[in-house]
């Protein structure tokens, strides 16, 4: 008997859908109501959903911008100008996209800082940490390629300086630089390279990474910090506090609606901040890109300041080598951390290091900011 001739077992839309999409609704409900550790109630631990929300906003506003943006250098600037000054709500959509990108970087970094300092990347979540570092790199690539598309003076020269770094990669550097720019300098061909990256390749990659990231979170669950605490106490030969703290039953709550609501509050807050930023600081546009006229201050966007300042401190190749080593350590940190723990028994290096890197980056940003004035 074929499935077509089987009578529908359930009535109503659930039956109709269940037959055509044969996964029981209960599975979704279970997935949604999965218990998650109590510590997740704290706001600091609920930042992971925010970059996702912001990415969705970036995708929507990005699509709207492509309706009017023309990636040809002779008209790119004019099309951005048109979006900003003529298209109804164009200034706002562009503002949301611009500020959204900055908030996305901030929230990704905050989320990573939390993950790092609480050691949530430890076994078996090393791979998910690495996917996360990939997401940071993709987010920054989005920011860099997007900034280049505006084609005003600062954007043009930031692109020039930014792409210059590729030249310093040993052996293949100049070839990569040539491929990215489509010539010796930033030209018409650079734009036709960066635009498909920004609206095609990078979105595809980031969606893949996000899906992997979320699947792994659901498979592995979030780190149970109370369980970890119980184990720590047990190792130390101490018993858990009598008030039931760190007990599994007491220390879990359902994802939906409880945690979802926390995310919603944060998401709403971020949206309000985002919209207000666009009103208070609407997007601006500098003078048209002019390859013949180097501005007195070439600077990237503020989130690249730590890297920018770092590179100014050392000879370029040394600085880039340092950056490369730093990036490799960053990606492979879960393994380095495990190694340190095995050797020294110290499990708190991440806390100190996370603090140090965060403060360092902040100081570098301020340094660069004031050095420019």
């Amino acid at each position: 008997m074929s499935i077509e001739s089987t009578p529908q077992t359930k009535k109503g839309w659930r039956g109709w859908l269940g037959e055509r999409f044969p996964i029981d609704v209960k599975v979704y409900e279970e997935l949604a109501k999965e218990p998650i550790p109590k510590h997740m109630e704290r706001w600091w631990f609920a930042l992971g959903g925010t970059p996702l929300l912001l990415f969705a906003i970036q995708a929507i506003t990005g699509i709207l911008l492509t309706w009017y943006y023309v990636p040809r250098p002779d008209v790119a600037y004019e099309s951005v100008q048109r979006i900003t000054t003529q298209i109804p709500y164009g200034w706002w959509v562009r503002g949301i996209h611009q500020w959204g990108s900055q908030l996305m970087i901030i929230t990704v970094v905050l989320h990573m800082l939390r993950t790092f300092t609480t050691g949530a990347y430890r076994r078996p979540r090393e791979l998910n940490w690495m996917i996360g570092t990939g997401l940071l790199v993709i987010t920054l690539s989005f920011a860099f390629t997007g900034y280049a598309l505006v084609n005003d003076q600062l954007s043009y020269w930031a692109t020039t300086v930014g792409t210059n770094m590729f030249a310093e990669i040993p052996i293949v550097g100049p070839i990569i630089l040539q491929m990215i720019r489509g010539g010796m300098v930033v030209t018409a061909d650079t734009m036709t390279r960066l635009y498909p990256l920004h609206i095609g390749a990078l979105p595809t990659i980031i969606v893949t990474f996000i899906v992997l990231h979320v699947i792994l979170i659901r498979f592995l669950g979030v780190t149970d910090l109370d369980k970890r605490e119980r184990e720590r106490l047990a190792r130390a030969g101490k018993s858990a506090p009598a008030n039931g703290k760190h007990e599994r039953e007491a220390s879990h709550f359902p994802f939906f609606p409880d945690h979802m609501m926390t995310e919603l509050v944060i998401g709403m807050g971020v949206l309000i901040i985002l919209v207000n930023l666009t009103i208070l600081f609407p997007p601006t546009l500098g003078p048209h890109a002019n390859p013949a006229e180097t501005p007195s201050h070439i600077k990237p966007e503020w989130y690249f300041y730590p890297v920018f300042r770092w590179l100014k401190l050392f000879p370029l190749q040394l600085g880039l080598a340092g950056l490369g080593i730093g990036a490799a350590c960053f990606v492979l940190w879960p393994f380095i951390d495990a190694f340190i723990e095995k050797r020294t028994g110290n499990r708190d290096v991440n806390v100190y290091l996370g603090f140090l890197v965060a403060v360092g980056a902040f100081v570098f940003i301020l340094w660069e900011l004031f050095a420019l004035q």
Binding site: R82, T85, V265, M268, I272, N276, I279, E293
Partner: protein, 551 residues
């Protein structure tokens, strides 16, 4: 935070977000749409025109919508209003009201009186009344229908209307946007000021001014500024276009529509003539020069522009001596019956006395009307290539061509000149000069070189009394009011200091010695690689010639 409290917070935040959206909508409503049609203000009568012409001549209407006129409520009938007996009275078949089909400066004057008054006394306005109307090249040499589309189309800026007003404002202020950006665009002037007889736009393009301006495409957009927003302030244009120097206001000099107010030379004339009070608001040529110097002073130091202008002025005076010599040869040929005349006399003796049929006559026309103008105008507008190759080289070549024709026709002096091997023979006329340049002391350019000084008597180092003779000629020019007292004083200072001004007082830089050695090596290489190099097999022609050669 309890779940219920969180839900409440979400609701409050959602309301807040909605409130923020209304602020967004408010800001959107208050946005000034740059480049979009401004709120056009028109009377009910003009609205009839707009309604109909939006479909019939949509370009015209949308141009007007973009204009400042539209924003300020200057509508169709403000300019196209008409009286029953006006020459351009027109009853529009689709409307109840008659209109003027062709607004004239008289109409513009109602609002723009200063501009129209200045324009009406300007050389632009006089263009149709001047010699142009009776120019033989137009009158006898070319059919009128052709010149109507040629010279007359540009000279039409001085259109003389039946209503007695003069001019064609939209020659520069293109209708119906009347955009200031278009009016100040060098290309607007370049519609007429181009080509072989007055390559002004090309000269500007060649100049540093043009280059700096065009290097930033945004500069074109800056040209749309309104003069009244910059009274007593520097103009918001970082490098000069035509109007910056010839028309626009400086910090202390008012803007003008009389393009002659800053011109100290008639350099389109067959002769270089200092402008008279007949043009340029009744100012003397010295006052006009002061005006021009005022514009120079917005960016340059006096020592630079005064020296530059002195040098350009002396180059213009030198032209007169060359042209005088050209005329002399034609006169000699005419006296000897070697060339005729077309029967038209001209007091300036520029060309009319000789016609266009014989080679020397055609030559002297090119001499002054094309080459001589480019030489003089290039010298005053920083256009080196126009001064040199399109200018003095062609002028000299014309002079030689005229003498060659005279020689071929058998004029004894011309034959003797052609025969002479003296390299100084090309200086057929008295010389004027300036001991020094505007751009600094050059220790190499006029360095005495035995190779030349022993052979050529024409140049600065060639003979002992060169500067004495030049001084006499320049002084005579000053006394004839062709140079100002200030200029003559400057010339004398440079003369007294000429050893330094010309770089002779300074030792040669070793770098230059290297370059000179390099040139010697280049010459040796050229000799070796080309001059003395022979391939083994001869040409095809040489074989033919061998056969044809008388044995």
């Amino acid at each position: 935070m309890s779940l219920n409290l969180k839900a409440l917070v979400v609701i409050v935040l959602a309301i807040l977000l909605l409130a923020t959206f209304t602020v967004v909508a408010y800001v959107e409503g208050a946005q000034k749409r740059v480049g979009a049609p401004p709120p056009a203000v028109a009377s009910a009568e003009a609205q009839q025109c707009i309604d109909c012409h939006t479909n019939r001549t949509p370009g015209m209407v949308s141009q007007w919508r973009e204009s400042l006129h539209a924003e300020k409520g200057v509508d169709c009938l403000s300019c196209h209003k008409v009286a029953k007996d006006d020459f351009d009275y027109f009853q529009c078949p689709g409307a109840s009201i008659p209109i003027a089909s062709h607004p004239t400066p008289k109409d513009c004057k109602e609002c723009h009186e200063k501009a129209v008054v200045e324009f009406s006394r300007s050389k632009h306005a006089g263009l149709n009344a001047q010699k142009f109307a009776t120019s033989p090249d137009r009158l006898v040499f070319e059919p009128t229908i052709s010149t109507q589309h040629g010279c007359q189309q540009c000279h039409n800026i001085g259109h003389v209307w039946p209503d007695q007003s003069v001019g064609e404002c939209d020659a520069c202020h293109a209708k119906h946007t009347f955009s200031l950006q278009v009016a100040r665009n060098p290309q607007t002037c370049g519609e007429c000021h181009l080509g072989p007889d007055h390559s002004h736009i090309e000269q500007w393009v060649e100049s540093k001014h043009g280059n700096v301006f065009m290097s930033n495409p945004d500069n074109y957009k800056k040209l749309g500024y309104r003069a009244k927003d910059y009274v007593g302030k520097p103009a918001p244009v970082p490098a000069p276009t035509c109007t910056t120097c010839h028309m626009d206001a400086t910090v202390t000099l008012p803007a003008t529509h009389d393009v002659g107010e800053r011109l100290a030379w008639e350099s389109q004339s067959p002769w270089s003539v200092r402008t008279t009070e007949a043009w340029g608001g009744g100012l003397s040529w010295q006052q006009k020069r002061d005006n021009m110097e005022n514009t120079c002073s917005q960016c340059h130091a006096p020592n630079f522009y005064q020296r530059y202008l002195l040098s350009g002025d002396v180059a213009s005076l030198q032209y007169n001596e060359i042209f005088r010599e050209g005329r002399r040869w034609l006169g000699e040929m005419n006296k000897a019956g070697l060339i005729g005349t077309a029967g038209v006399k001209d007091s300036l003796g520029a060309f009319q006395a000789f016609g266009y049929d014989e080679a020397p006559e055609e030559q002297i026309y090119h001499f002054w009307h094309h080459q001589g103008r480019l030489y003089r105008q290039g010298a005053l507008m920083m256009a080196a290539d126009y001064t040199q190759w399109h200018g003095i080289w062609e002028v000299q070549r014309s002079l030689v061509e005229i003498i060659r024709s005279a020689s071929e026709a058998g004029l004894p002096e011309a034959k003797a000149w052609m025969k002479s091997d003296n390299p100084s023979k090309y200086m057929l006329y008295p010389l004027l000069d300036v001991p020094g340049t505007a751009w600094g002391i050059d220790t190499i350019a006029f360095r005495k070189s035995p190779e030349y000084t022993t052979r050529i008597l024409m140049n600065r180092d060639g003979n002992a009394d060169y500067w004495e003779k030049v001084k006499g000629n320049v002084e005579a020019a000053y006394k004839n009011n062709l140079l100002s007292a200030k200029q003559w004083e400057m010339w004398q200072k440079m003369y007294a200091n000429r050893d330094k001004e010309l770089g002779n007082a300074y030792p040669l830089s070793p770098e230059i010695q290297k370059a000179m050695d390099g040139e010697k090596r280049d010459n040796a290489a050229a000799t070796n690689q080309a001059v003395e190099f022979k391939v083994p097999n001869g040409s095809v022609w040489s074989a033919i010639w061998d056969a044809l050669k008388p044995k």
